[in-house]
């Protein structure tokens, strides 16, 4: 997980207040009763970078969750790219292949 992306702020951001504001915005957008998973994600992201010490630790020692290397994939952008019609039709025609 990239906490900066989750909170929608620049990776250069070093302003505790701005980060807190982004977190509160996230909490408002994803209330726990409506979207508990996203709420938890936003909270986790905030905890990762909430103050200069947290940010320094993350930058110096790395994200411990990534010790499971398969979690690295989550750092790569997960877009909702338009793939064009061909790969969709391939799946639809594809049967059980």
């Amino acid at each position: 997980m990239n906490p900066y992306r989750v909170l929608g702020i620049s990776e250069e951001s070093d302003d505790d207040d701005a980060i807190r504001k982004a977190w509160l915005d996230g909490v408002r957008r994803f209330p726990p009763e409506k979207d508990p998973e996203q709420f938890a994600l936003v909270r986790e992201a905030y905890e990762m970078i909430r103050d200069r010490e947290s940010r320094f630790r993350l930058q110096t020692f790395g994200d411990r969750r990534l010790r499971i290397t398969s979690a690295i994939v989550d750092l790569f952008p997960s877009g909702r790219n338009h793939a064009g019609s061909a790969p969709w039709l391939a799946v639809i025609r594809g049967g059980t292949r």
Binding site: Y4, L66, R80, R97
Partner: protein, 764 residues
Amino acid sequence: MGKAAREKRLRQQGQGQSSRVRLEQLLAAGDTRGAVEAAKVLVREEPGEAAEALAVRAYGERVRMLIAEGLGREAAAIAAILRERFPSHLSQWTGLLEDARLAAGDFDWILSELGTASEERRAAIEERLTAWITDPSAIASASSLDADDPLAREARIVAESFEIVTSRLAEPEEMAALGEVRRRSPLASWKLLVRAIDAFHRNEDERVAANVTAIDPRSPAARAGEVLSELTTGKKMTRRSGLAERLIDRISGGRATIAAQIRSIEAASDDDDRKRLREEMRTLNRSFDQLSPYAREQVRMALLPVLGVHFSAEQFSSLFRIDEHDPAMPRYAALLMEASGMLVAADLWMAYADQLLEQKKIEPWQAAEIYLHVLSLDREDDDVFVCRDPSHGHPIPELDDAPDTSKIVEKIFASRPSPAVLSRVAPHLDRLNSSKLRRVLTAWRKADPDASEPVVRLLRLAEKEERYDEGLLLLKKSGKLKTIDPEYSRLRLRLSLRKAEQLLASKKASAASELIAEIAERTGDLNEDATTYLMALQWVAAPPWSAADLLSRLSERGVPGEVVLAEVTGALGMQFALPTTNPSPHELLEGVRRGIALLRSIGSPIRHCGWILERTVSHLGEANEAQLLPIGRIGLLLGMTELAWIATSLGLATKGTSLHRFLLLRVEILIRIRAEWNRIASVLAAARTLAHRLQDGEAIARAEEINHDFGYGRLDLSLDQDEISSIVERERAAEVPQPREKPKKTRQKKVKSIPKRERGLFDS
């Protein structure tokens, strides 16, 4: 395998076995391809009606399988061969042969009917088409369908909107025409799919789910619906085809490819195949360009343990496309050593922080964070470091030859003496020996004079080492400390009481009296038990009354005071001729219970009342749970194993609410008498199971402590009531055992003389 080889193999396999049987076996096994080949052999070797019928079946099953696999054209080709070679056997296969044509996208023959079909026939045709439309544009462009036919119009709308939503965000008006597609149309599921894809690209996952759920599972569009479900909910497809994987990969920005690359890197690392590792890393590097600086750095750190052990610093920097002299390299080296479980990691981190601090490339608070990280590195066994975050509650064992904790802590204090940082140091202090701990705590106190934690810890240390003067001096110095920590008050009281006892023991009655008076003034520290105990101390310092008077006064305070008095006078080496009393069994038992409770509550170590406990033996049968437990516990403490044994046996017989505590006490006795390992483990398991059921945190903690200290392994928490009852009954009925002999030592220690029993308070 080639066709000729396959036939040859079939012939060989068929030797001694009828080709017919072989063909049937292949069909039963689902090997339709093999069955078709076998059918050809059969027809050639045994021409005739029966062989042809079986061959037709083999071809038919092959067609069915190809359709299911989405290979419509191949299915249609086989169907054409079937039609050509066995025209007289096709009556029961007509439907399947038509399906093969539809699967191949050949709709003209069925669509041509629509122009003249009755409403009923049209509905039947459209119903049949539902399962075969894999591309609406094939319907839209079918020459046999009138351009004005509703189905043709619907197909054009769906095909156009499908093209749009898979290529870009659609404008609202571009989606409006979809409303014209009838609910009973064979394209209704396609309409839902188009809307679901549109919702997906708008991040409207609820709308995706609503549309996907409504898709007819017979429609080929449902296959794309499964992909959308996985993309939005993370729920994996039941059968994820390679085509679906490629689609997901393209939509999600290559994540599946990257996951595969990372798996390959790990595999190459496991195989110690450096060449492959280098190639895989180069491939992954191409994906690095899509990463942000933060993500790129995190990926580097995460891959360090996988790559670092195989390459030199130079090769490593080349793989990561960074300069060999990049300032991050020492950090990577420390991280690698840490991940590899090398003790040198701590030294590398310390050197890294010191150097950067000296070069003023980091600020002191940043250095403190690195030092704190070093503290959190914990050695699990002789060679392995593991990082344990103390905030997660992991225990930190004492490490004799770990990096010098006290020096690291001192560096932290020097770099950043803020309360927030210092409190993070606290969980690591337990690994220090007393002198280092005292030095560190003193430094902490100096750095943060308002913090109560170092003071409390220093007071606890003073109590443990019986350095009461030092503790009282510290209390005086920290007089203005504002703390609500109840442990601070308790320590102040305990240290004062111990000091008063010490003064009395050294015959400094006057100084003791002064201190006792001072303690008595601190009413905030005093509870009922402390006040009562203070009365006993006062009496010893300057007995204004006879011992009988004191006992009477203690009794008025609800404390039959013999045990207390025995402890006070015993500790001070005093002998008093006390009046003979004739307490009833209940008075005796209750007096002992209350006395023990009082002494425990003021933290007074019980050492001298054993002879009173002995007197309870003949009355233990009348004791209740609350009396038996402390008597048994103190009996064990004072080495009176037999008494402790009897008390626990009686306690187990009561089967009351303290059953688990009696079991725990029995465990401790069994350990003392060196009982069989299995027996101890079973009683401990029963005690722990009951403690968990009753949620008795103190008993659970004690059971864990015993297990940790003596290593009974993973305790079975699944004991049922019968098993527990059986253990309880066995222990209750067990006779007082004789201690097992200790193994003989080569050099025997000089046997100490057994101290004389003290004079009883009840003796006149």
